[in-house]
């Protein structure tokens, strides 16, 4: 009788473990990035200041901003097609250095309404800055951008 009871508890324990394990796997597999507009902002900064920091000390700026959520204000320099969507580019017209934002799905259509010269506030995940050998300038790229205001 005692053995049967123990076996029952063991089976129930295994079932519980299997359910918990399955739940964790399911969560990990189906987890998606949250809407960027709803995520806490790590830094609020102007496009000019951000470019300045990256150009003057790229190592420090990369450590500070990479994979952080930034709320950036600046003037749209160019709308550039990226497949069926558009990227927004904010550039320093003297040096050519630029920030470029690719948008999350839910903001892709709103981004298309921006025009060159618009003042925009964009919130996005910073992927850091790199030097382009092709263009011989510095650029900072962003993913999962959300258009906050224009």
């Amino acid at each position: 009788m005692a053995i049967k009871k123990r076996l029952k508890f063991l089976l129930l324990g295994l079932l519980a473990l299997a359910l918990i394990g399955g739940g964790i796997v399911w969560y990990v597999f189906t987890e998606k990035f949250e809407d960027t507009s709803l995520v806490d902002t790590d830094f609020t900064i102007s496009a000019d200041s951000l470019l300045n920091e990256f150009v003057h000390n790229p190592d420090q700026a990369n450590k500070k901003y990479t994979e952080k959520i930034l709320r950036v204000k600046g003037m749209v320099y160019e709308m550039e097609p990226a497949g069926a969507e558009v990227n927004v580019k904010i550039a320093d017209t003297l040096t050519g250095n630029y920030l470029i934002f690719s948008f999350q799905d839910q903001d892709a259509e709103a981004a298309k309404k921006l025009k060159e010269g618009d003042e925009a506030i964009i919130k996005a995940s910073c992927s850091g800055g790199v030097h382009s050998e092709i263009l011989d300038l510095y650029y900072i790229s962003f993913k999962r951008a959300a258009l906050i205001k224009h």
């Binding site: 990990v28 987890e31 998606k32 994979e67 550039e80 497949g83």
Partner: protein, 182 residues
């Protein structure tokens, strides 16, 4: 004499502008698909690749910031950038430098759609290998649209993470490039 020199200089500079040969983009889309029957998650897009095509010489170059590959799944994005995969802190970019090898059949100064054979050096994860692919290039006035698809072997780039061994990540992912250059 001064007038003649002025005309020659004007012709020289207008000629240079007329034949501005390098078409560029900062928004090429590079997609990466390493999905397997066991795992549909390892795929991502980077929409901010820098690219250039020289319509005179056929030189082709692309570069991409690894950290700007965007995955649907946060955990997978973390793995992709981690030390067992792309190690993007140490190797922040991937680059391709090559050329169109059948340039006589691909006249990028004339409107039309061409099949271009492209050959060059792909560097990622700090390792460089030669790759060849076919690109479909459409010329429309001053704009070029280029599409290419090829696969790479992860082991050629010294990427041998456990997820590849277990079959969760393809050992030969497919890379697609789509670029509108001007």
């Amino acid at each position: 004499m001064m007038k003649r020199t002025g005309i020659i200089l004007a012709l020289f500079f207008s000629g240079s502008l007329l034949y501005a040969q390098k078409k560029t983009t900062t928004s090429a889309v590079v997609s990466f698909d390493a999905t397997t029957s066991l795992d549909p998650l390892p795929k991502a897009e980077n929409k901010t690749a820098v690219g250039s095509v020289d319509i005179g010489t056929g030189a082709v170059a692309f570069e991409v910031a690894i950290k700007n590959f965007s995955f649907q799944n946060p955990k997978m994005q973390g793995h992709f950038n981690g030390t067992t995969w792309m190690d993007s802190d140490q190797f922040p970019t991937a680059t391709f430098k090559g050329k169109i090898t059948n340039l006589p059949q691909v006249n990028l100064k004339v409107n039309g759609t061409y099949n271009a054979n492209v050959e060059g050096a792909l560097t990622m994860h700090g390792v460089t290998n030669q790759v060849t692919t076919t690109a479909v290039i459409t010329v429309d006035g001053k704009k070029l649209n280029a599409k290419a698809e090829f696969s790479i072997k992860m082991k050629d780039y010294q990427i041998n993470g456990p997820a590849i061994g277990s079959g969760h990540v393809s050992s030969e992912p497919v890379i697609k490039v789509l670029a509108d250059l001007k």
